[in-house]
């Protein structure tokens, strides 16, 4: 670890915190339906969309209608991606002549993109046409991100409102989020990325003759426009197989730094949106503090582990950290930091190969995902995930003092706690359940690329990543088999929607409750005690659930490595 390395980390955190308030202010205005500086341009487009689709923007929806609208929207999104992948060979914008994608891979990929996972069982440049990348994937990058954000906003409205039966209008929220928040940032971001060296072209792959006379086919494409939303929307699905490690998908140290910022920007700002909507911004800062504590701890461990290197490297006298699977322009610190950010959020873009991380360095991304990606988290998904843990923490605090727990003026009762538990229990069910199935079936074991405990880590990571809608991988695992395509799709689907429905039920039930003013006995939820309590609940829940599995994977591998074993 170096001073310059830590300075990069501190600068990163400082900018994220500095962006939280202005972005939160702007996003709150957008979701309250107020005018913004972009309204003169965008308002006519917005009104036109409502007119052709028959949406009455004044009419709000019950939580159940809101959820059904969201689900219908995703059925359509699924059909578009699946159809494009199956038919891409006969559709335009296919200069590389990509053929139709197989049924199971198309199914997995379509589920993957509507759930904001962006798990890649395909290699972008070797499988997909430009049309599929743009209309299929770029568009769903926008819409799955917008969906996550508006669901978090609906839950926040549940806390903020009193005695109301509605939580907002899904169609209005999703349209405003896309037009006023995601698109404008992406336009500027795309141009920045192209300036840094990212291609943005519909032309053919380039045929080059290298200095030594060999032929090199260089894949290009409309990369920057997709990468902008891939990062901002915490989607993470790369244009290229190597994702943000590919020099075209992350050309410079600056492009890398700004991409890291864009992963956290909207998720962190949502804590401020929460504070503003419930009428006390300190409530938002307290939640961001919980996230910050867990984040810094993760960065410290991962950075330390990667800078240490492995015993294989030490035995050969190689110093400078574990550079296997990392790019020189990012080095140890920016690779470790990126890995923690991308898994703390449910982004899943990678600028280094997590499979080649040290055992402990690779365990941090795994833990981040298994805790539910609530450390800033996926846009929206992180916020509603964190609020579920807050409900549990408040419940625990209530049990300790023997009072009905309350949070930001709302009584937390049996219904909310049951729904929160239901949502949280989905994670271990899918992650541990499918991992257990995969390691006893020959077809599951055959896909492992590494022997020994690392092979188990690959499988555990695959189901953690898909259930958590992350999308990063211990990529050695051959995921493009019918078994992994189908079980993975089920993990992604359940991990996304069975968390959303209980969260929305909580939103509906909270919105109907009366708001009670704080009294002497109210547990203050803006201080250090509250932050510590929530961190504790998260770590205990995660620890109890996943420690045994981690012990079989990364922990035993670290011990084996220290003993000098290879497999």
């Amino acid at each position: 670890m170096t001073v310059i390395g830590w300075l990069q980390i501190i600068l990163y955190c400082a900018i994220v915190v500095a962006l939280t308030k202005p972005l939160g202010w702007y996003m709150t205005r957008v979701f309250n339906g107020e005018r913004t500086f972009l309204s003169p341009v965008l308002r006519p487009i917005e009104a036109g969309i409502y007119w052709i689709s028959g949406v009455d923007e004044k009419r709000e929806q019950h939580w159940l209608t809101y959820t059904v609208a969201m689900l219908l929207f995703h059925v359509g999104g699924f059909l578009i991606i699946y159809g494009l992948m199956r038919l891409q060979a006969v559709l335009p914008f296919n200069p590389a002549g990509q053929s139709a994608v197989a049924e199971d891979l198309s199914f997995n990929t379509a589920i993957s993109f509507i759930t904001n996972t962006n798990w890649q069982n395909y290699g972008g440049e070797s499988t997909l046409s430009y049309l599929t990348q743009m209309v299929g994937l770029t568009h769903q990058n926008f819409l799955s991100a917008a969906t996550g954000i508006v669901l978090a906003v609906a839950l926040i409205r549940g806390f903020a409102r009193a005695s109301m039966r509605t939580v907002g209008n899904f169609w209005v929220d999703v349209t405003r989020c896309t037009l006023y928040i995601l698109l404008p940032i992406c336009v500027v971001f795309t141009l920045f990325l192209v300036w840094q060296g990212m291609p943005q072209t519909l032309g053919d792959y380039v045929e080059a003759t290298t200095l030594e006379g060999a032929k090199q086919t260089i894949a290009v494409g409309p990369v920057a426009s997709q990468v902008a939303i891939k990062m901002l929307g915490t989607n993470g699905g790369g244009f290229f197989n190597a994702n943000a490690a590919h020099p075209f998908e992350n050309p410079t140290a600056l492009s890398n730094f700004v991409q890291m910022l864009s992963i956290f920007a909207l998720g962190a700002a949502l804590t401020n949106v929460f504070g503003r909507m419930v009428g006390n911004q300190r409530q938002g800062w307290a939640i961001l503090a919980v996230m910050g504590v867990l984040f810094i701890a993760g960065v410290a461990v991962a950075y330390w582990a990667e800078a240490q290197g492995t015993s294989t490297l030490h035995a050969l006298g190689l110093t400078g950290g574990n550079m296997e699977g990392k790019e020189v322009r990012f080095g140890i610190v920016a690779s470790s930091l990126f890995a923690v950010i991308t898994t703390a959020a449910s982004c899943g873009a990678v600028n280094a190969m997590h499979d080649s991380f040290t055992a402990l360095g690779g365990m941090i991304p795994l833990i981040n995902i298994e805790l539910g990606e609530i450390i800033v988290g996926g846009v929206g998904a992180g916020m509603y995930g964190m609020l579920l843990f807050v409900i549990l923490a408040i419940f625990v605090a209530g049990l300790m003092v023997g009072r009905t727990p309350e949070y930001v003026g709302k009584k937390i009762e049996a219904r909310e706690v049951k729904m929160a538990m239901l949502a949280i229990l989905i994670l271990p069910l899918m992650i541990l359940g499918w991992s257990a199935v995969a390691v006893v079936l020959p077809t599951g074991v055959a896909s492992m690329a590494n022997a020994g405990p690392h092979g188990f880590s690959e499988v555990l990571y695959a189901y953690s990543s898909q259930t958590g809608n992350n999308g990063s991988a211990f990529a050695g695992l051959t995921g493009n088999t019918p078994f992994y395509n189908l079980t993975g799709a089920s993990a992604m689907f359940v991990g996304r929607f069975l968390m959303i429905v209980p969260a929305m039920a909580i939103a509906g039930s909270l919105a109907e409750k009366k708001s009670i003013p704080p009294s002497m006995g109210t547990f203050p939820t803006t201080g250090g005690l509250f932050v510590g309590l929530v961190v504790g609940v998260i770590l205990i829940m995660g620890g109890l659930t996943f420690f045994p599995a981690l012990a079989l994977g990364p922990i035993v591998e670290q011990l084996a490595m220290n003993a000098g074993n290879v497999f």
Partner: protein, 201 residues
């Protein structure tokens, strides 16, 4: 609930047209006009022919060139399309080795490469980036140490004084952005082009 069906179709199609077609196509047009070189992939031409991209590494095996990092990229096996074969710096199929920290295959590969480099330059420490594969398999850079390590071999193969080659490496070294972001590095293709130009003089 039934009245949600129309927006589920029409609003989805409208937003798909905006975000999936209008946005990427408009960006392609604007970016192509503002940054024509980058938008096409930062291609380098020599005598009217494309010799590569400034951002994409390429394979160098000749002693007279500086070598990049090992690359783990693959290509479909020409004899059996269900299998793959090693194809270093395949810029149409990026990827890393994905070998873990306790992998025997990785340990064996590292040992072989370190031994080879030690015999080439016994006086210097082997830089770690010169024996580890990059994440993309297309890393255009090596560390300044990895470039300096290769100076004796390159100088000998080209009959140039070592000092002159060393100076060229130093001149080609890029530092951190604002002294803070990223890592010091040397672009291998740019260095080799500069080397060819120097040798031609």
């Amino acid at each position: 609930m039934l009245r949600e069906i129309r927006p589920a179709i029409v609003l989805l199609l409208a937003l798909t047209a905006i975000t999936g077609l209008a946005y990427p196509l408009a960006m392609t047009g604007i970016a192509g006009a503002l940054f024509p070189v980058q938008a096409q992939g930062s291609l380098i031409e020599k005598d009217g022919k494309v010799i590569g991209s400034a951002l994409i590494g390429q394979e160098f095996k000749d002693d007279k060139y500086f070598h990049g990092r090992p690359s783990a990229t693959l290509a479909p096996d020409p004899n059996d399309s269900t299998k793959t074969v090693p194809a270093p710096y395949n810029a149409a199929n990026s990827g890393g080795s994905n070998l873990g920290p306790t992998s025997k295959a990785l340990a064996d590969r590292l040992k072989e490469d370190v031994d080879k480099l030690r015999s080439e330059n016994p006086n210097a420490t082997v830089p770690v980036d010169l024996v580890t594969t990059s994440a993309s398999g297309l890393d255009p850079n090596i560390s300044p140490e990895a470039a300096q390590f290769q100076v004796p071999r390159v100088a000998k193969a080209r009959n140039l004084p070592e000092d002159q080659v060393k100076q060229l490496v130093t001149a080609s070294t890029e530092g951190r952005l604002l002294g803070l972001l990223g890592e010091p590095r040397v672009n291998v293709l740019a260095l080799n082009l500069a080397l060819d130009r120097m040798a031609a003089k």
